[in-house]
């Protein structure tokens, strides 16, 4: 108690009661309100990049990543009525496009497009996501080629669409110019054409990415290893 305050007994009893009742009502109200994740709400339409840029107040890099986390909550959270395989992919791609436009150098949206959203059993949705990756690749081929390489593998092994896989592989060869793009990526069209199973191809690509030392994020490393394990299990079960 500071020198400027009167003792607690100076507070009238009715005020103690009112304070306690208001606090109890507040807690009861919150306890009775369902969590927002429990509501069966779907992904809302994507805001434009300009609107996101305006809302970022000059911090597009921070907002882009926070919006990615928000987007993740619609699939990985598990509380949504629609797991990501049944998300509206048109809207999802709209969100991803806005995020890419907000921070073009962030790899997060294309990482999720290639490794999360394209990994769906629905061929039409997978195709939509692969085309999104292909479209975005041309804006910055030297930085975005790993995601198109992933797309090429998915097109070959999951969609069984060899011409599509070759189109993606050829784009990597034709449009990447940076000296640090590995040879296997430049020659991807060759091993797309080879009679190689999915596990071997993924081992070359993901193993190459891991060996290059470019992937340092622990979360991404975990996801890569889990993906390789899943492929291995799938091959064993065959």
């Amino acid at each position: 108690m500071s020198a400027g305050q009167r003792p607690l007994r100076a507070v009238p009893a009715w005020l103690w009661g009112l304070l306690a009742a208001a606090l109890a009502a507040q807690l009861a109200l919150h306890a009775g309100t369902p969590k927002s994740g429990d509501r069966a709400e779907d992904l809302p339409p994507a805001p434009s990049a300009a609107v996101l840029r305006l809302s970022s107040f000059g911090e597009p890099e921070a907002l882009a990543r926070i919006v990615m986390l928000y987007l993740q909550a619609f699939d990985l959270g598990g509380n949504n009525s629609l797991p990501y395989r049944r998300l509206d992919y048109g809207r999802l791609i709209g969100w991803l496009k806005s995020i890419v436009a907000l921070d073009p150098r962030s790899q997060y949206p294309l990482f999720c497009a290639a490794r999360v959203y394209a990994d769906t059993p629905d061929p039409s949705r997978m195709r939509q996501m692969l085309e999104f990756i292909y479209g975005e690749f041309f804006a910055d081929p030297n930085r975005r080629w790993p995601w198109l390489a992933e797309a090429a593998l998915l097109a070959k092994h999951d969609l069984k669409d060899l011409p599509l896989a070759r189109r993606y592989a050829a784009a990597i060869d034709r449009y990447t110019t940076a000296p640090d793009v590995p040879l296997w990526a430049k020659q991807m069209e060759i091993f797309i054409l080879e009679d190689m199973n999915e596990l071997d191809a993924a081992r070359i690509m993901l193993g190459g990415l891991l060996a290059s030392g470019k992937i340092t994020d622990p979360g991404e490393l975990r996801l890569l290893r889990r993906r390789l394990d899943e492929l291995e299990r799938r091959e064993w079960s065959k």
Binding site: R53, G58, E61, L69, T216
Partner: protein, 253 residues
């Protein structure tokens, strides 16, 4: 040196106020939030942490500086301390600039303190540039807050005007892009709106070009761009200070 004495008084008041505790709470909150968010990130965890901490601490630094300046000046006005000071045989420029120097040192100290939590993740060079830019940005906010506090002589009005100027300056590039975008109408009204937005942009500092998180994530900016951005900010700080001094000289008592 009356200027130095006035500056020292301002710093002493800041040290004895809640400012150090609020600064520490801001750092703790930013680190906590960044740790939580980076834990749920699938990739770019380090980048997410840097971006969130930098953005939050930048906003906190500006808000704290504006609040400190406005509340300090308001207290001085309410206690008739300002009137008493004006009766002393010092030029008004010394009185105004002495206070401004104190608030500027306070702003620089806060910027340096807020750069420290980023040191474990960001490269030293870009972080030093970011901190210097934040220091100048906070100094500009201090100058603007002093100007509005002295001229409006109202706490809520001064804080609102300072933050409105700041937020508008940070969003102006995005507003201009929307106004000139393909969805903008070609009517006379649309043209007029674009003209007003462009005219407004001329009167505001380019806060969207300074203290950029992208420096911490993707590398330092070109020296010429950096110098131009900070130079324009310094020029605006001089402009606001001159305007404040102009108003202070016209003050009756």
């Amino acid at each position: 040196m009356p200027t130095a004495i006035l500056a020292r008084l301002v710093l002493l008041e800041a040290r004895r106020s809640a400012l150090p505790w609020l600064a520490a709470a801001s750092i703790a909150l930013a680190l906590l939030l960044a740790t939580f968010l980076s834990a749920v990130a699938l990739t770019e965890g380090r980048e997410l942490r840097i971006a969130v901490v930098a953005a939050l601490l930048r906003a906190c630094a500006v808000f704290l500086v504006a609040m400190q300046v406005a509340s300090s000046v308001q207290r001085e006005i309410d206690d008739k301390g300002l009137e008493q000071m004006l009766s002393l045989p010092f030029p008004r420029a010394v009185q105004y600039l002495g206070r401004l120097a104190g608030f500027a040192v306070c702003a620089i100290g806060l910027a340096v303190l807020f750069a420290l939590p980023l040191a474990p993740w960001a490269a030293a060079g870009p972080l030093a540039l970011w901190a210097a830019s934040l220091a100048l940005e906070c100094t500009l906010v201090a100058a603007a807050a002093l100007f509005f506090s002295m001229s409006l002589a109202q706490l809520v009005g001064a804080i609102s005007a300072t933050l409105a100027l700041y937020l508008l300056a940070r969003s102006m590039a995005a507003i201009q892009a929307i106004a000139a975008g393909p969805l903008a109408t070609e009517s006379l009204g649309g043209e007029l709106a674009r003209w007003v937005v462009d005219a407004l942009a001329f009167l505001l500092p380019r806060l969207d070009a300074v203290t950029r998180t992208e420096w911490l994530l993707y590398g330092a900016p070109a020296a010429s761009d950096y110098a131009r951005a900070l130079g324009s900010l310094a020029l605006y700080a001089v402009l606001v200070s001159a305007a404040g001094l102009f108003d202070f000289y016209r003050r009756a008592s």
